[in-house]
């Protein structure tokens, strides 16, 4: 330690106000930051902007679907709208959401580290994201793309006259952003844990991020190379996936889903991690079956690689492979179910405090369960033939991705908002928004299960008149949902100036991130923490708190 200086003693602001936000001022100090917390904020701002854009497309589509006639948008424009909605929401919002925002911010804090292992690569991954996003925006302005987010060949390579090349190139780039995030997290978890922080003392959020990162690292390159082949085919006019030239379009689907099925776990595993943290904090209990929950993340990551062809049951794969993939798809539901049961067991006979994050997580558990169970319906070949490419599938994946992943993201954002900003959000408004989101979500998407079962196909701007009532319900729900999402945007911004100061640990939660100031100082901890306790050791914490009060 160096001795005190005049500078230190007299002119420095009190400790608490010098944090990662106030450390430096000016745009450049943000754009060239290597601090994981600041990069998390950069991501937060960017993905929020893209969420709004993706939401805009959704709202216009829902308005179109108010009436059976295709009157608001031409079918071509409608095609572009669902494509852009899907691409933005999946590649530019949901995949980076929890990992790149909450994971970036929290992982080093939860591990007792000063930063991620590779701070420059972390910044690079944000720049890749931004480059891809700017390319995407440019493409939207100059005419868009209409292949669907799945880019199926040979339509995308031989027939579509929209900007397929540009958009796949953007997806390629954003894929590398995702790979680099995963790589960084994996190395950080392996090599940067504080002394005493053994694997089975890690918070379950860290386990979830670990499993997610494995999928990012091993699945995304396959998407990247598939897109390279697609671009090559489109530009050079060869036939890798074109049957007329000796290629096979099914190969494209195999390779695409080899990534994109695991990618759904890139979206849901982090959400499960948030759920574990929030359930523990608001029940003040250890997560029931900690090790099962931890290992089930790895099991999901592994099994997720073995089920991709369940997206291709009607595409012309053989009956035998369909049966095998159907069977394996049932398997992948097991570890997810383990988690749901363990959260439920933790909630059982607990005194649950129903703060906003917990409300979102209760919503998450219910909606994810519905999404997962309908996934099993779809994994049954016979039923899938009936409902594939209908609104049933649309409802299924919105239940998992919006009802599951986005709900958990909102939970996490509220739960750690005080840590990130040092301010509390207004609880009353936040609860109202959570309830609106839950109600709006169900009103939007539940009717779609029925619509799909009745036979309404997805990806059309017009539909048979008998489907109108359910569609009107769905659009009404979407309006409620939109209000539910707009509210947090307003009150969270408001809280930055007017929110009650949070203090280091507003929830009385355990976890290293709560032992440092809010917002945390640049170097996270003034001294590297030494960990001697297990995750979620609420009983011990409460005892310790009792002791300090006695002092």
């Amino acid at each position: 330690m160096s001795s005190l200086t005049l500078h230190d003693v007299r002119f420095v602001e009190p400790e608490a106000t010098r944090n990662y936000i106030t450390q430096d001022y000016g745009a450049l100090s943000w754009l060239f930051t290597k601090d994981h917390k600041r990069i998390a904020i950069l991501y937060l701002i960017s993905i929020t902007a893209l969420f709004i854009l993706g939401g805009f497309f959704a709202v216009v589509m829902r308005i179109e679907l108010l009436t059976p006639e295709g009157d608001l948008l031409t079918s071509d424009t409608y095609n572009k709208f669902f494509t852009l909605h899907g691409i933005i929401m999946i590649f530019f919002f949901l995949i980076p959401s929890i990992p790149a925002v909450l994971g970036n911010f929290l992982l080093p804090l939860m591990l007792g580290a000063k930063d991620l292992a590779f701070p420059k690569i972390n910044l690079l991954s944000w720049y890749l994201y931004i480059i891809a996003a700017v390319m995407g925006l440019y493409i939207i302005i100059t005419g868009g793309v209409d292949t669907g987010w799945t880019f199926y060949t040979p339509f995308s390579t031989q027939f579509s006259n929209t900007h397929v090349f540009g958009v796949t190139f953007a997806a390629f780039i954003v894929g590398f952003s995702s790979i680099l995030t995963g790589l960084n997290f994996l190395v950080t978890i392996h090599r940067m844990r504080a002394p005493g922080l053994t694997w089975f003392r890690l918070p379950l959020f860290v386990w979830a991020m670990y499993a997610t990162s494995i999928v990012q690292l091993l699945a995304t390159p396959v998407l990247a190379i598939t897109l390279v082949m697609l671009m090559f085919e489109r530009v050079v006019h060869v036939g890798i996936f074109d049957p007329a030239l000796g290629g096979d379009p099914l190969l494209f689907q195999h390779m695409f889903w080899f990534y994109s099925h695991p990618a759904v776990y890139i979206m849901i595993l982090p959400a499960m991690g948030v759920a574990s943290e929030v359930v523990a904090a608001f029940t003040r209990k250890k997560i029931f079956g900690y090790q099962f929950v931890a290992y089930s993340s790895l099991a999901i990551a592994f099994l997720g690689f073995l089920v991709w062809a369940h997206h291709m049951f009607v595409a012309g794969i053989s009956v035998y492979s369909a049966m095998i993939f159907s069977f394996l798809s049932y398997f992948v539901a097991v570890p997810s179910a383990i988690k749901v049961f363990n959260w439920t067991a933790t909630l059982y006979r607990a005194s649950v405090s129903l703060m906003t994050p917990m409300l979102y997580i209760l919503g998450f558990i219910g909606l994810f369960t519905i999404g997962g169970v309908t996934g099993l319906f779809l994994a049954a070949i016979g039923l899938d033939v009936h409902v594939t490419d209908t609104y049933f599938v649309v409802a299924h994946f919105h239940y998992v991705m919006v009802g599951g992943a986005v709900m958990a993201y909102m939970a996490g954002l509220h739960y750690w908002w005080p840590k990130i900003t040092g301010r509390m959000y207004p609880e009353w408004w936040a609860r109202l928004a959570a309830l609106l989101v839950f109600a709006g979500f169900n009103l939007t998407f539940f009717p779609q299960f029925v619509l799909g079962y009745l036979g309404m196909p997805r990806r059309y701007h017009a539909y048979a008149p008998e489907f109108q009532v359910l569609n009107v319900m769905s659009t009404a729900g979407a309006s409620v949902l939109a209000v539910g999402y707009a509210l947090p945007l307003c009150y969270l911004l408001w809280s930055l100036w007017y929110g009650r100061p949070a203090g280091p640990n507003p929830w009385g939660a355990v976890g290293l991130e709560w032992t440092t100031a809010s917002p945390p100082p640049m170097e996270n901890f003034h001294e590297t923490p030494v960990v001697t306790w297990d995750a979620y050791d609420y009983p011990a914490m409460m005892k310790a708190m009792g002791e300090t009060q006695n002092v």
């Binding site: 790589l183 392996h190 080899f258």
Partner: protein, 238 residues
Amino acid sequence: MSEVTLGGPPPAPQVEEHHEHHPFLQHHFEDLGQQHEASTLGMWMFLSTEILFFGGVLAAYWIYRVMYPEAWAIGAAQQIWWLGAINTIVLIISSLTMALAVRNAQMGRRMGTVYMLIATLFFGTIFLGVKMYEYTKHWQEGLFPGAAFTFQWPQNPALVPKIELFMTFYWCLTGLHALHMVIGAGLLIWFIWRSWKGHFGPEYYGPVEIMGLYWHFVDIVWIFLFPFLYLIHGAHHG
């Protein structure tokens, strides 16, 4: 950081461990050992990404090879196998010089490292030169897929689109590999400069080692590409 001390004795000279002040120790690592382990693990993970990246296109290659064995054999017969063989040898030698560069860096032999890296760069450039020659030749022979593909196979014209497919994979695979070589060559130039500046030594040679991992990986990819693209011509000798 301290300029003016506030009374008391002057600050004691800093007697901290030598390695904590190493100029290349990044602030968020505890020590050079941790930094080294993290970077090495990072490179291995990056390589596993690369394996799946190349693996994807190789899988596609393999599926079509099983579907169109004859076209694949004819396509391979269009390659000059001994040029591929020379390039294979050149790359293996470059791997050796790369390994020697790592060794020299570990031993703290500054100029030895520089020379070995230059040698690696030299062999890498030869490889790329030979590859450029092959590419030019293929282009002239109408073996670039798409509109430029004028190659004929009178014995069985129906096979031409499939031979074109083979050549598509040829260009994709070797092109991606060559791109990795170019990136590797760029990195080598930077590393030559750094070693010449004396950045590496017994306690800090990690980056050279990691550069080596990358270089060996790119070589190994070629070891797979060479037989897959040049040597499977069966009865169709070129």
